[in-house]
């Protein structure tokens, strides 16, 4: 019975949605001083999913794509050039790195940087799977078959538009 309750209680914490970090807490997390505070983001479904939204909004996709890398390094694997803890990733986003990674200091708020960093870690499976957001639809190289536009049947002069 205690064994059954323990995961339930753990689940409880994951779903706690604190929309705003208290300002002193936010300040204490500057530049990787507080490693343990990252737990709040790594195991929280809400923050991870916000991070996923922001990853797209701030166009991280432009270089890193959906974690596979391209212009920037891949984020899906477990090889980190500048360290793989959440504090390292926060520092990378906030301060930038040589050879192309720009600094987002002052462009993205600290809270959001932590959320994005947590999402980046979730790509390589380094967060609790019970909290991790779904894989993206954009992962699909092309639309699913039933989503593709219907090719006109041969011999039919006017192509019909089936999409709404």
């Amino acid at each position: 019975m205690p064994l059954a309750i323990a995961p339930l209680v753990a689940g409880c914490e994951r779903e706690d949605r604190q929309y705003r970090a208290d300002p002193p807490l936010l300040d204490a997390r500057g530049a990787g001083r507080q490693y343990t505070l990252g737990e709040r983001y790594l195991n929280n479904a809400y923050h991870l999913s916000q991070g996923k939204r922001l990853y797209a909004s701030f166009n991280c996709r432009g270089c890193h794509f959906d974690g596979g890398g391209g212009i920037g390094p891949a984020l899906m694997e477990n090889r980190w050039i500048y360290g793989g803890t959440i504090a390292d990733i926060v520092a990378t986003i906030r301060e930038g790195r040589p050879n192309g990674m720009p600094s987002f200091r002052g462009k993205i708020t600290d809270e959001q940087i932590w959320e994005i960093a947590a999402y980046v870690l979730s790509m390589s499976g380094n967060v609790s799977s019970a909290a991790a957001p779904n894989r993206d639809d954009h992962m699909q190289g092309r639309p699913a078959e039933n989503r593709q536009p219907t090719p006109p049947p041969p011999g039919d002069e006017a192509p019909k538009l089936l999409s709404p």
Binding site: L8, V9, G11, C12, R14, E15, D16, R17, A45, Y46, L48, S49, Q50, K52, R53, A130, A131, P133, N134, R135, D137, H138, Q140, P143, A144, N146, R147, P164
Partner: protein
């Protein structure tokens, strides 16, 4: 005819079955009334002990349990409503935050629809229909007992999740894309979809049992135009359930597959598009 002793159980089909059986035995018409009674008592009695009582398949016991459970959920759903009304009593009240409020009203709607309204109606059917058509028990008694337990499991599942702050918060109709993986993070909507599947399995099983009871287990001489009005209404409702609930189940299964496995039933590709299956979710649409 000794069938009268057996009661409304299975008298009608008897001559047909006898012809197909070997002459050897299984026929109880040679037994005396006392022996028949004893055997029937043994067959239909509730086993002793806690486990025995829990595994009862008597329709009155199961129906009674169904009713009590449904009314407990009614009470819990009403408690949700009271909490919401307390929040709404004043403008900009700070009693309940938006997050908990959304969980509360989703739990209220879900509880009232899937854990009270449908089950309580079926509870009365389980209890009353066999008595009204003169059957000894409902058809498929084990299936009905199973449906009760799975209903209870579904109800406990969602309520424990709610008490652990993982209650669903996407409305009791759970539209995509709000309930999809992108806009409903965490396990909340998963819990909801899973609970729907539990309760729908249960209500389908009871609907099937009710239909078979009414159509096949009526007392001799009770033709369909002589069954009580209540039995008629339960028969019609059960047919409605048989046709409507699978759609709901498919919709909730599609939702949970989209969320957990990454399928694209209800959403797809770049830019969300209403796919035809989303229409199934509209079965749940309140307005």
């Amino acid at each position: 005819m000794s069938d009268a002793v057996i009661g409304g159980g299975l008298p009608v089909e008897r001559p047909v079955r006898r012809r197909s059986m070997p002459e050897a035995d299984l026929r109880d018409i040679v037994l005396g009334d006392d022996e028949l009674h004893r055997r029937l008592e043994r067959t239909w009695a509730t086993p002793a002990g806690l486990l025995g009582r829990l595994s009862s398949v008597d329709h009155k016991t199961v129906g009674w349990r169904y009713m009590i459970t449904a009314f407990v959920f009614l009470f819990l759903g009403g408690f949700n409503a009271v909490a919401m009304r307390a929040q709404l009593a004043r403008p900009e009240n700070k009693l309940i935050g938006p997050d908990l409020y959304n969980q509360l009203f989703t739990m209220h709607g879900t509880t009232m629809m899937f854990l009270f309204a449908v089950p309580v109606m079926q509870a009365f059917a389980v209890y009353l229909v066999p008595l009204m058509v003169g059957a000894r028990n409902i058809a498929f008694p084990r299936l009905v007992a199973f449906s009760y337990w799975i209903y209870l499991a579904g109800g406990l599942f969602i309520w424990i999740a709610f008490l652990l702050n993982t209650g669903p918060d996407v409305g009791w109709f759970a539209y995509v894309p709000l309930s999809g993986p992108e806009y409903a993070p965490g396990k909340r909507a998963d819990v909801w979809a899973q609970m729907i599947t539990f309760t729908e399995v249960s209500s389908l099983a009871v609907a099937v049992a009710t239909i078979v009871t009414v159509l096949k287990h009526r007392a001799p001489g009770m033709s369909l135009d002589r069954i009580p009005l209540f039995v008629w209404s339960m028969l019609v409702t059960s047919f409605v359930i048989c046709f409507a609930m699978p759609a709901v189940m498919i919709a909730s299964s599609c939702l949970i597959m989209d969320r957990l496995v990454g399928t694209h039933f209800l959403q797809s590709g770049r830019g969300w598009r209403c796919c035809p299956l989303a229409a199934l979710v509209l079965v749940l649409r309140p307005s």
